[in-house]
């Protein structure tokens, strides 16, 4: 078994870009501590490369040719594309894992028709997680994307299948691979409603996620998600894929709806690999 870690975390740009505006600094720092613990857990697992399942925000893919799924097989990546002062993260050149990425892609393709890319610019959806999980940018990254932005979106059941395919691919190679799904739960980002969070919906989703209840996780329709969890809720696909890859129960390390300035219910969790 070479998948050594599977978890989820939030990626909203405010987490770094609006850190200085936060009034509830105690809760903010508690969240940052949970992210630091996640980093240590990933390192302690002996991780040689990190898969980041992201919900990218038009840094690479557009409606001229939108892949449902994509895996990065580049040597290096650039990011963030956003203004560094705005995001609170300086631009970096980030190492990839082209050989590992290629072998993972070949195996995933046996069951899921994924695209692949040798070029990839990171936006906040990957740059914010990396800021916390590999702050020295010395861990090879395999970026992965699920289309959560440009409807028609990747169906939930295909996102689950994609997560299972990533698991099979990781288990087919000797390198130790960690995986994180990064997205939001309910949120209305980049609108005047930024900061709106449906905490009961979040907690119900997280309960399903921690039970790793496939049927319950795949029962949402996009119409229901949009109504109850906003367009940001479409990013649950990344969490679902991480759960599918792990197959075990989850352990919710941190959740709060008390940092709406970050525009999302801030979440950190891991799963048992079974």
């Amino acid at each position: 078994m070479s998948l050594v870690y599977s978890g989820v975390l939030s990626h909203a740009p405010g987490i770094t870009g609006r850190a200085h505006l936060v009034e509830n600094t105690a809760k903010r720092d508690e969240f940052y501590a949970a992210l630091e613990k996640q980093r240590r857990d990933i390192v302690a697992a002996g991780t040689e490369a990190l898969i980041v399942i992201a919900a990218e925000h038009f840094a690479n893919f557009f409606m001229n040719n939108m892949p449902a799924f994509c895996i990065g097989i580049g040597d290096r990546y650039e990011g963030p594309i956003e203004d560094p002062e705005w995001l609170g993260i300086q631009k970096h050149s980030i190492p990839g894992a082209p050989d590992v990425g290629l072998r993972i892609t070949r195996e995933v393709m046996q069951t899921v028709d994924t695209a692949y890319a040798q070029e990839w610019k990171f936006d906040h959806g990957i740059s914010v997680p990396l800021h916390f999980l590999t702050p020295n940018y010395d861990l090879p990254i395999i970026p992965v994307n699920i289309n959560c932005q440009g409807p028609p979106l990747s169906p939930l059941h295909r996102s689950w299948a994609f997560g299972e395919a990533l698991r099979r691919a990781c288990d087919s190679i000797p390198e130790k691979i960690a995986l994180v799904g990064t997205g939001g739960i309910s949120h209305w980002p980049a609108t005047p409603d930024s900061g709106k969070i449906n905490e009961p919906w979040d907690r119900d989703f997280l309960d399903r996620l921690m039970r790793n209840d496939k049927q319950a996780l795949l029962s949402y329709t996009d119409e229901e998600t949009y109504r109850d969890a906003g367009q940001g809720g479409f990013e649950i696909r990344t969490f679902i894929a991480a759960a599918a890859a792990a197959a075990g129960k989850g352990d919710l390390k941190f959740y709060t709806a008390e940092l709406p300035i970050f525009a999302v219910g801030c979440t950190v969790a891991s799963f048992d690999i079974v």
Binding site: A59, D193, I261
Partner: protein
Amino acid sequence: MSLYHLQKFLFELNRGELAQERYRKNLPGLLDEYDLTDEESGALSEGDIGLLYVLGVNGQILMHYAAFLGIEWFDYLDLMRDGITKHGAVRDGVYAMTGGGSSFTDEEKSR
């Protein structure tokens, strides 16, 4: 399909340093390369966040554009609200305003 071209302009601007350089040096010339309506072209010429929001530009694309323009976060939220007040509801896409223009953060309310 015009919204497609409007968003494509911003997509390519947001991710490309060469496009950003051209934007700063010769915005009219850059705009001429896209199939835009007069309203869309005007909104881009003016950096009119409110109108672009109402036209249906995906919020993620618009947010990155606002950051490129150097607009502060709370000002960005206000510009979208002002756009609704001036031009009416969001006409397309999935980034409609659903909260009646209210603020959802103590930090913004206490400004």
